[in-house]
């Protein structure tokens, strides 16, 4: 039987330009290595998870009992707004970006992404956007119009200065996401190893490919909406001002035309992770591999045609309501196909229930519950009751926490050993798992009942006689469970990355190319470019005679891109433009604009 030890004999490639892996400050600031950028995204995402979780803990304390006065009015609204904005854009999205950055090139057998400097630019623009938005707490106050930012609550007469930081920060995140989308579409389509046909691309990389298309096409509408808002707030235009002929529904359509595909941006990568983790720990292939991929693509397409289901109460009229009800219900079909195929993978398996597998397995029922309550919302006569109630809060947390975040935890336990070279502690992992799952269900399952009992979302207090006391108290207790479990996870990561058991190249007996190289991988990833013969290249190398990956006799000659200051500098100029708009010091914006043009000129003329 062949083994991955066969690859140890390969000669390292010949560098045309030496690139060492260093870890000083300037190395991080100037790096264009997809692995380092992935780590940066990962740390940012974990920091976002901590901040967003803290915000949730604070407003859950306010809601634990009726008639409390800990965070009232816009303090509470600000916490809710920042919790959602942080979790969506600064926790889950960067964690997905971390996995995409680190693992997509490894999975497809490439040495980096297609445009490494653009990749660095995406990261810095993202980070500056995050910092800009959070600086609202210092310079103004937290934006308090909800993460959906419905005009006219965001316009000048009703929204305080925090809203300016909100649109400016989001605009930077949008720029970052659109550019990253293009970068990864090009990478996955063009840089696959020889023999890796599209149907041999790992499911996770496939789902990430779909997500990149979603990013590239769904962020433009919301960016337009944000620019209109910026004009309304900064220059006094009237896009959302009804007395002058504007229309607040314009924002809702632009936002949800982005907002619904965004839901799939958040969940598809976790579906991909589950589709990778389940087969490895079941020791058999993914059931219906092609069906899982095609259903993901189908979800990506139909996801653009369902945004109106967020607006059933707005009065679009029965014909539009009916159309969006039908398209929304259709999405249940490909989603079901995925769930049934995961179940098919588990049947006749020989499961090893590691922490990664526990999270991946638990993803299935939790996501199913979120999907099924989504089927309820697809019916407008019922959605009129559930819209903006705690039933919806329960629904999207089952999808985004029970689904997306649970999938990302599976990914963390599965993939982190490749990044750090050391396994995470399984005992701490299991404590994390059980506390998290129990806490999550304690918090969010009773919210279905709260919604049925008429509790609207985003209210900072409620009367004692409304019948909502018990579920709210249980919910807050559940949040404490979740917070503690995530702290245990953080501790586990910090300790295990230094003292954990050494992982080796292939700790899980896995299927795909990233597990054939050392953990952590060398700068150039692969000593030689593997030729891919099947959808499970590494598994077949180990277990299927005739499918071994052969080591070429010749050393490869490679050219890795060098460090560059230019991405972070151009990104800084983008930030300067927005700071000028926020502070009304137009000179800053002009300097920033000129800086971008000059910076891009030097960027493209830089020898790499």
């Amino acid at each position: 039987m062949a083994s991955i030890a066969d690859f140890a004999g390969a000669q390292p490639p010949v560098y045309h330009q030496e690139r060492e892996s260093k870890y000083g400050l300037s190395d991080w600031l100037t790096t264009v290595d997809h692995k380092k950028i992935g780590i940066l995204y990962g740390i940012s995402g974990l920091a976002g998870l901590a901040v967003g979780g803290l915000e949730a803990l604070l407003f859950r304390i306010q809601l634990a009992q009726p008639d409390q006065h800990i965070f009232v009015g816009d303090q509470f609204n600000g916490l809710v707004t920042m919790h959602a904005t942080t979790m969506v854009f600064m926790a889950v999205m960067p964690l997905i970006a971390a996995i995409s950055n680190y693992f997509v090139p490894l999975m497809i057998g490439a040495r980096d992404v297609a445009f490494p400097r653009l990749n660095a630019f995406s990261y810095w623009t993202f980070l500056f956007g995050v910092l800009l938005m959070h600086s609202s707490l210092i310079f103004a106050e937290f934006p308090a119009a909800g993460w959906t930012g419905y005009a006219p609550l965001t316009t000048k007469p009703y929204g305080a200065g925090g809203i300016d930081f909100w649109w400016a920060g989001l605009a930077m995140l949008a720029i970052s996401s659109m550019i990253a989308g293009v970068n990864f579409v090009v990478t996955i389509l063009n840089m696959r190893a020889p023999g890796m046909t599209l149907m041999r691309v790992p499911v996770l990389a496939w789902m990430i490919l779909v997500v990149q298309f979603l990013l590239a096409f769904s962020f433009p509408p919301v960016t337009v909406g944000l620019i209109l808002l910026a004009f309304d707030r900064t220059f006094g235009s009237v896009f959302y001002e009804t007395s002058m002929g504007g229309d607040p529904h314009l924002w809702q359509h632009l936002f949800w035309l982005f907002g619904h595909p965004e839901v799939y941006v958040l969940i598809l990568p976790s579906m991909g992770i589950v589709s990778e983790v389940l087969p490895v720990f079941s020791r058999k292939p993914l059931f219906g591999h092609h069906a899982v991929i095609f259903s993901g693509i189908f979800i990506g397409f139909v996801g653009f045609g369902v945004w109106g289901h967020h607006m059933f109460t707005s009065g679009m009229g029965p014909i539009a309501d009916a159309a969006f009800a039908v398209t929304t219900a259709i999405i249940a079909v490909p989603t079901g196909v995925k769930i049934f195929n995961w179940l098919g993978t588990l049947v006749h398996a020989k499961m090893r229930l590691t922490t990664a597998m526990l999270f991946a397995v638990t993803f299935i029922p939790q996501f199913t519950i979120g999907g099924l309550s989504g089927v309820m919302h697809a019916s407008p006569p019922l959605d009129l009751q559930q819209h903006d109630s705690y039933f919806v809060v329960a629904h999207f947390h089952y999808v985004l926490v029970g689904g997306a975040l649970t999938g990302l935890f599976a990914g963390a336990y599965f993939y982190l050993p490749k990044i750090t070279g050391r396994l995470l502690d399984e005992t701490l992992g299991k404590i994390h798992f059980w506390m998290f799952i129990i806490g999550f269900n304690l918090t969010f399952f009773p919210m279905h009942l709260l919604g049925n009992n008429g509790m609207p979302r985003r209210i900072f207090t409620y009367p004692a006689d409304a019948g909502w006391n018990t579920e709210n108290m249980i919910g807050t207790i559940g949040v404490v469970f979740q917070v503690v479990s995530v702290l245990i996870f953080f501790y586990n990561m910090m300790v295990s990355s230094k003292k954990g058991a050494v992982a080796g190249s292939d700790p899980w007996d896995a299927n795909t190319l990233e597990w054939m190289i050392p953990s952590p991988p060398p700068v150039h990833n692969f000593d030689f470019t593997p030729v891919v013969l099947s959808e499970r290249p590494l598994w077949d190398h180990k277990y299927t005679p005739g499918f071994e990956i052969t080591v070429p006799a010749q050393r490869e000659e490679i050219h890795m891109p060098s460090y560059s200051w230019r991405p972070i500098i151009v990104s800084g100029f983008v930030l300067l433009v927005l700071i000028g708009l926020l502070s009304h010091i137009w000179a800053l914006s002009v300097v920033g604009g000129v800086g971008i043009v000059v910076g891009v000129y030097f960027w493209v003329s830089e020898p790499v």
Binding site: D74, N77, A144, A145, Y150, L153, T242, G246, S282, R283, P285, H289, H290, A291, G315, G317, A322, A325, A329, V333, G336, L343, G344, H348, K350, M351, L353, T354, V361, P365, T368, L372, S379, P380, P381, L382, D383, L384, Q385, E426, T427, W434, N441, F445, P446, N452, N453, G454, M455, P456, R458, T461, D465, A466, G467, T470, E471, I474, G500, A501
Partner: protein, 357 residues
């Protein structure tokens, strides 16, 4: 520490029991819980019936699917484990076209089966009320953070408490004066957005006499949580009839007796500038030709309301005085001006207002 099979098998064996115990405790606690005066599943009007019907229909579909998925899942997780020492590979099963076809086609049929009645329900809810029957027409305007109700035909302008007649069609024209609000009384039926610059209609026939609470469901600023509303369904006949209420409301405000505390309150009310935002029929009328809409609620019969500050406080002299003295202490960001009244003046105004039944 590396993965050890016996260790986590023990953990796995113990943990579900704990989980179940916790969930059971939680459910028990919820089951023995308080009354649910805003239960969407106990509707009192035709629109609420439609929503509740869809809830139950879809709940059954969901429960069947969930039981199916959970059944296979539980069976697989319990049965298909790698036993210690077992190194043999399981069958390498890549999929099954027939199964893929079944679990694509069957859900499609289910989706069609639930979509057809859904579309029917959408158009049913969009039907206009029957013009040959009596219709109570009310214009609702959402404002930060209260509701204005205009009964145009009856000439009544009131706030926060909607009075209707059991068994009679009610047609609401909904809009907003500032940001988007949504009017929601859970037991009545679904909510509708009140959007500035747009009018949205909603109609219903309430069948149960009583008082039902609700509140704004669309985030509308600092005191969104305190933008309550209430619907009072009157019987068609008798002492408490809708017609009786209408006649009461059409009267001018009650005249206080000379020298009474109420009269002093009216004096303060007129002198301190309350009339800039509030009107009282017969006392502080709007200028001729002015729109009936006001930036603060019409107070002609404020004493007859059950609650004040948009269903936030019980209506009594003490609460009224507290509210008049410092509105922002009760509702964060409240737009009503704090006039800096003395305790005595606030009390006088409250006494006067409470007398306006």
């Amino acid at each position: 520490m590396t993965w050890s099979l016996p260790h986590f098998r023990r953990a796995v064996a113990r943990a579900p029991g704990r989980l179940l115990a916790l969930v059971a405790l939680a459910l028990l606690a919820i089951a023995c819980n308080e009354a649910h005066p805003r239960n969407t599943l106990q509707p009192i009007a035709d629109t609420g019936d439609i929503s509740a019907w869809f809830y139950h229909m879809l709940l059954w579909v969901d429960v069947v699917i969930l039981v199916l998925v959970m059944g296979v899942w539980t069976f697989a997780v319990l049965k298909y484990r790698q036993r210690p020492g077992d190194t043999e590979l399981p069958p390498q099963d890549f999929g099954n076209h027939k199964l893929e076809l079944i679990w694509t086609v069957l859900p499609t049929i289910i989706v069609i089966a639930i979509t057809v009645p859904t579309v029917g329900g959408i158009f049913k809810l969009a039907e206009r009320p029957d013009p040959n029957q009596k219709i109570i027409v009310v214009e609702i305007t959402g404002k930060q953070w209260w509701w204005e109700f205009d009964y145009i035909k009856e000439g009544i302008n009131t706030a926060n408490e909607l009075h209707v007649e059991a068994g009679t069609q009610v047609l609401l024209h909904m809009t907003s004066a500032d940001v988007i609000h949504a009017w929601w009384v859970p037991r009545l039926g679904g909510k509708r957005d009140a959007t500035p610059g747009r009018r949205q209609d909603m109609h219903f026939i309430a069948r149960e006499v009583g008082t039902f609470d609700g509140q704004c469901a669309e985030l509308c600023g600092a005191s969104h949580a305190l933008m309550g509303t209430r619907i009072i369904v009157h019987p068609p006949a008798g002492e408490d009839s809708y017609q009786h209420w209408v006649e009461e409301q059409q009267e001018k405000a009650k005249e206080p007796a000379a020298g009474s505390p109420e009269e002093k309150g009216r004096k303060v009310f007129l002198e301190k500038g309350c009339v800039a935002c509030h009107s009282i029929a017969g006392v502080a009328e709007l200028a001729p030709g002015a729109r009936s809409r006001t930036s603060g609620p019409n107070l002609t019969h404020v004493g007859g309301r059950t609650r004040i500050a948009a269903n936030t406080l019980e209506n009594n002299v003490d609460n009224l005085a507290k509210w008049i003295k410092n509105p922002q202490s009760i509702k964060p960001g409240a737009l009503m001006t704090n006039l800096g009244l003395t305790d005595e003046d606030a009390k006088a105004v409250a006494t006067y207002l409470f007398s306006l039944k």
